[in-house]
């Protein structure tokens, strides 16, 4: 599969990087293994298994069907972008303001409910999370401009 081919190359890259860096950190010294000992050993494990997967991917029949489609990758990108935007807003707008917006907009976009329903549900869930994490457990979450 093409995905296995790509995965094996990524694994090979990681394994070799860890081996090289492990040697730079130092493999062995007078008192025994140095800091780079385990990175080299673990890097070898990843490298060997990546080579095996690489070989498998070359020998397997060419499969035209993609496991991960472009549409799926696009959806993944959109979701991650939205979440990253929320995390970016947390220190500026505050944790619960940001999460509240995520909940309201998320519920509206995913379901066919009205904005009123999405807002009521989203705000309700945010209030519960606020009471649990902020009021009861007193987790020092970022407050931002609005104090939430």
């Amino acid at each position: 599969m093409r995905e296995d081919f790509i995965s094996s190359l990524i694994g090979l890259g990681l394994g070799l990087y860890w081996i090289v860096m492990g040697i730079i950190y130092g493999f062995w010294e007078e008192t025994g293994p140095a800091s780079g000992f385990t990175p080299v050993v673990f890097g070898l494990i990843v490298t060997v298994s990546s080579v095996a997967l690489f070989w498998q991917s070359l020998r397997s029949k060419k499969d035209k069907k993609q496991i991960i489609t472009k549409k799926e990758l696009l959806d993944l990108f959109k979701i991650c972008l939205a979440v990253c935007l929320v995390i970016f807003c947390i220190p500026r707008l505050g944790t619960f303001t940001s999460l509240g917006l995520l909940l309201v907009i998320g519920i509206k976009l995913i379901s066919s409910s009205t904005w009123l329903m999405a807002t009521c549900t989203g705000v309700g869930i945010t209030v519960i999370l606020y009471l649990v994490f902020k009021v009861w457990l007193m987790v020092p979450l970022p407050q931002g401009l609005l104090g939430f």
Binding site: T31, P33, F37, F42, I79, V86, I90, L99, G106, V139
Partner: protein, 503 residues
């Protein structure tokens, strides 16, 4: 024996004091809630509530804090089963089978299995602690670096059972976990490794956000992205009958040995200083994959896959008290906090504690029995409500789960970096799942490898001339190495014998 029973009976007179009953129930409830919230484990729960106990009687205070500790083990399974977000690290393996059961419409059954396994594991742990705890604590002390190295190698040799259908992918996933475990400052020499200049990585990768990302956030990505059917239709239309949630006699028969086995493994691992409930739950799951009659079912929604880690983590929480009370050595992070509390109240854990403050020691032990029963009753009453959570529409469940992942990841170290890392690992977990790379070996390697690295190097440093013979000359270490070799070679030899023409 009769003396121990007499002292335990005396302890019950202390534990059954109304104030102490109230304390253990409140502690247990708090533990369940804290355990059910991602990112907040028993350490956070005890740390948050420790200041509230300053003005309490020391016996009552420790009873409540102990209640939080084992209540947390019950609660961790709730979000693991219902949302695929382990409430804390000991519940990671519970999520593997528990969430699959929830997807099959058996959320109630999975929860009941988890709670009863936790209860029985706690009871077995409490009984062993009562009668053998002090003696076993001395055994735990005999575990040095060489013994720990061999024990962890023995556990990692068993990872073969988690590799899935493609061993190359399974070993690669394990290897990635091993690579991730090398990130951070080297514990022996103090050299930063693979930190890429980021201060946040000097302490290593954050474990709880990693687990929340791989299991929880990755699950949301699957839920929302195109081309992946999560089978929510099964969850919504499955008839939620409370009676159907109880285990049948046949199912009880299937999991009973699993629970006893998990409890014994859990207690023993919990006894070892620094091991804790997380390692115990992994060890029990690995043993289950090896010894269960139907190992092919594990990972796909087997009740044994829930029962093994849950019984182990509760038994381990009891086992962690043995070195604490007998020797003043905490068996886990949470008991380290409890040690601080004990010293604050003027109690010095150690061999003399049993003699100088018997009402405290035996009152605490007796309260564990009461607390275990109280928390079980509470959890059983909650199941009818909890079992509806998988029926919540995707539009509400997905954003709420993201919010819980964000809050849980931040709560561990109060760090925004941890949230970013959670998202990153979530994407990694998503691709691993879609490309059929198993995630349990990665998490297993992350749990065990740091300890392995440190123990291995320490063993060679204390060995004369740095000789590896230390792993063979130490009897406990040799026993684990031989067991590891037998575990790997015996199935191969048996298979060869079966396949040989003369057979």
């Amino acid at each position: 024996m009769s003396e121990i029973l007499a002292q335990l009976f005396q302890g019950f007179t202390v534990a059954l004091d109304p104030i102490n009953i109230f304390a253990v129930v409140v502690g247990g409830i708090m533990g369940v809630i804290v355990g059910g919230l991602p990112g907040l484990g028993s350490v956070a729960g005890v740390a948050l509530l420790l200041p509230l106990t300053f003005k309490m009687n020391p016996t009552t205070a420790v009873i409540m804090l102990a209640g939080i500790y084992y209540g947390n083990m019950f609660g961790g399974s709730i979000s693991a089963i219902l949302l695929n977000i382990p409430g804390d690290s000991p519940a990671v393996m519970t999520a593997v089978d528990g969430y699959q059961l929830a997807r099959q419409g058996k959320a109630g059954k999975a929860l009941y299995t988890a709670f009863f396994a936790s209860f029985i594991g706690g009871m077995i742990g409490a009984v062993i602690l009562t009668f053998l705890g002090p003696a076993l604590a001395f055994v735990g002390l005999r575990f040095g670096p060489a013994e720990f190295t061999s024990l962890i190698l023995f556990a990692l040799m068993s990872v073969g059972w988690l590799l899935g259908e493609n061993p190359a992918k399974g070993i690669m996933a394990t290897g990635i976990g091993l690579l991730l475990s090398t990130i951070g400052v080297d514990m022996i020499q103090g050299l930063p490794r693979f930190t890429f200049g980021m201060v946040n990585l000097t302490a290593g990768i954050p474990f709880i956000p990693t687990v929340i990302g791989i299991f929880g956030f990755a699950q949301v990505l699957k839920l929302l992205s195109a081309g992946y059917e999560i089978g929510q239709t099964t969850m919504v239309t499955a008839r939620l009958s409370i009676r159907d949630s109880f285990l049948s006699i046949k199912e009880w028969a299937e999991v009973s040995f699993t629970i006893v086995r998990g409890s014994l493994i859990g207690f023993f691992v919990g006894l070892l200083p620094g091991s804790g409930a997380t390692m115990a739950s992994f060890m029990a799951y690995i043993a289950e994959m090896r010894l269960n009659k139907h190992p092919e079912r594990l990972g796909k929604g087997a009740l044994a896959g829930v029962a093994a880690p849950e019984s182990a983590n509760n038994a381990a929480s009891m086992g962690a008290f043995a070195p604490l009370l007998s020797l003043g050595i905490p068996g886990s992070g949470t008991t380290a906090l409890l040690l601080g509390g004990l010293m604050m109240w003027g109690l010095a854990p150690g061999p003399l504690l049993f003699r100088e403050a018997p009402e405290f020691v035996w009152g605490l032990m007796a309260s564990m029995y009461i607390g275990d029963i109280a928390v079980l009753l509470l959890c059983v009453l909650l199941v009818p409500f909890l079992a509806y959570i998988p029926r919540v529409p995707k539009a509400i469940l997905a954003p709420t789960t993201i919010a819980l992942c964000v809050l849980g990841s931040f709560s561990v170290n109060n760090s925004i970096f941890d949230i970013w890392f959670m998202v990153f690992m979530g994407v990694v977990g998503y691709f691993m799942d879609r490309l059929q790379f198993p995630t349990p070996p990665l998490v297993l390697a992350l749990v065990l490898a740091p300890r392995l690295q440190t123990a291995f190097r320490q063993a060679l440093m204390i060995s004369p001339g740095g000789s590896p013979m230390i792993f063979i000359t130490k009897p406990i270490s040799l026993a684990f190495l031989l067991a590891a070799i037998v575990m790997v070679t015996l199935p191969v030899l048996i298979k060869k014998r079966k396949d040989s023409p003369s057979a």
